[in-house]
């Protein structure tokens, strides 16, 4: 399903002007600094803000010059930054509120959401009796209960503490894999983007500055996302063999295989691997006398300056992309050029799921 939207809105100190055509699959993150218009864009998609514009979702036109489909007729689920549960209803009453008003008499999505979010034991409680993390889980289940065509989430983790964030993230990922509902996810956290997003829309000053597949966007050297301390690349991989002798797990991807200490994973699981640019060093020849296990053949794709002393190198490994941050001196010694074949030594990899 795709969304086409051309929206223009001006508030007193801020204007949003977007022209977007996105195909919705998996989780699409809208990312940008605060004040960039992320929430306004999401609210516009939900019909909570009136704009002059055009909005088409799937085959249905939600907004045009003469037509504005009100929020309650849009098949959406919306998770606000704060859980915003109805205080006068029980947890069950909250969740069923959407289901009772949907045209779909199919409880399966609601039941599945309750199961996935592990809130069955909370159903008879009052909203006020729940912890922050529990409330947000209930809010997510409530948004899903009407089996919406799209789930819109506005920084659903921002109001939670670190502990509750870690509690919710796996659930979001489960929703992603278990329910076939595309999610549009507003966030200003790079970590959440790396963890969840399949696609990324970058918003800056009310305008879309770039959009595309997550792995590609994270390694685009012309975007600020690939620069700075936390610059990292993302690789989709599949869990392979387990080495009983050394207690190591192998993880396969298009460019070869990673070796990581044993993880609670079973063969065939899909995982995301995040590799920070500063953990990747480059050598001309494949080193053998080294403690580093993850050494991969790579091809230089692009080089950009990173401050005065360093350069950022985008590398191709199989069909995937890697970032490496090295000193300008090293780059000169290695005689780095686009197209050059090298070996990347990867000091550490983070498994995101």
């Amino acid at each position: 399903m795709g969304i086409e939207c051309r929206l223009k809105t001006t508030h007193s100190n801020f204007s949003l002007d977007v022209d977007l055509s996105i195909s919705l699959k998996g989780i699409t993150a809208i990312f940008g600094p605060s004040g960039s218009g992320k929430t306004t864009l999401l609210r516009a998609l939900a019909g909570l803000e009136k704009n002059n514009g055009y909005l088409k979702v799937g085959d249905a036109i939600w907004e045009s010059e003469k037509h504005f489909l009100p929020t309650h007729l849009r098949s959406i689920g919306y998770v606000f930054q704060e859980p915003s549960l109805f205080q006068h209803l029980s947890v069950r009453g909250n969740i069923e509120y959407g289901y009772k008003r949907s045209k779909i008499s199919d409880q399966s999505v609601m039941e599945k959401a309750i199961e996935l979010l592990q809130i069955d034991h909370l159903l008879n409680r009052k909203a006020a009796e729940l912890s922050g993390g529990e409330r947000q889980r209930v809010a997510i289940a409530r948004a899903l209960s009407s089996a919406p065509k799209i789930l819109l989430m506005d920084e659903p983790l921002a109001s939670l503490g670190e502990k509750h964030k870690k509690e919710i993230l796996p659930f979001l990922e489960l929703l992603h894999t278990e329910l076939d509902i595309p999610i549009i996810y507003v966030t200003h956290s790079v970590d959440e983007v790396a963890y969840l997003a399949d696609q990324l829309i970058l918003l800056d000053g009310g305008k879309v500055s770039a959009s595309g597949e997550i792995a590609e966007m994270l390694t685009r050297l012309d975007l600020t996302l690939s620069h700075g301390e936390r610059a990292a690349s993302l690789i989709q991989a599949i869990v392979g063999e387990y080495d009983e002798n050394y207690k190591l797990t192998y993880i396969d991807f298009s460019g070869g295989r990673f070796t990581v200490p044993r993880k609670q994973l079973s063969k065939g699981d899909r995982v995301r691997i995040r590799i920070e640019a500063r953990d990747v060093s480059l050598t001309i020849h494949q080193q053998s006398e080294t403690s580093i296990l993850n050494i991969l053949p790579v091809i230089v794709d692009e080089i950009a300056d990173e401050g005065d002393a360093q350069v950022l190198v985008k590398l191709r490994v199989g069909n995937d992309l890697l970032l490496s941050c090295i000193t300008r001196k090293s780059a000169q010694q290695l005689d780095l050029k686009v197209g050059k074949k090298l070996y990347a030594q990867i000091k550490s990899v983070a498994l995101l799921s």
Binding site: F86, H88, L152
Partner: protein
Amino acid sequence: MLNEFDLNALIVTLKLAAISTVILLLFGTPLAWWLSRTRWKLKALLEALIALPLVLPPTVLGFYLLIALGSNGPLGEISQWISGQPLAFTFAGLVVGSVIYSLPFVVQPLQNAFSSIGSRPMEVAATLGATPVDRFLTVAVPLARTGFVTAAVLGFAHTIGEFGVVLMIGGNIPGETQVLSIAIYDHVEALEYGNAHWLAGGLLLASFITLVVVYSLNRRFSLFKGGD
């Protein structure tokens, strides 16, 4: 003890308060909702108009009502045309007066209650597929229930206590427009302090008990309002 006149006055008073309260709630709820949501520039004007009975001497209000409800007044003429008699010195006239007189006591608590809900719960309900009327009835009204209790009790109690307006437009007709507060006045005028004591003491006690009930209900309700 209560004599027949006092009993009639009690019945008229309760009837007046009950009818006025029902009308006030029906009329005041949409008005309060609108006031809590609108960004209309002249909103302050309307709010001031509604609050006028709080500060005006009841006799001023009663004077203008008497003119409006009388056979030459606009409301009186309409009434004359419909029922063949003007509104002044009738029970219906008293209801009109009471509704206007007690309007701020109903509208203000409701407006405050609706305002304190904020727009978020209504937005949530909209994203869950609730129509505007549906979300008003299933979200705004239950969340504003303390406001409704306060509004109903204040509207009722204030109508029972009114004196000046009734005196101006009611005419003190026993069994028709004579209410308790005026019956007390009559007893005192006639130096029937015993009868006055019965009525005044009864009103005092009833009012006190009502307020105690309201305040304790409000406390219980507020327990549900935990943070979010």
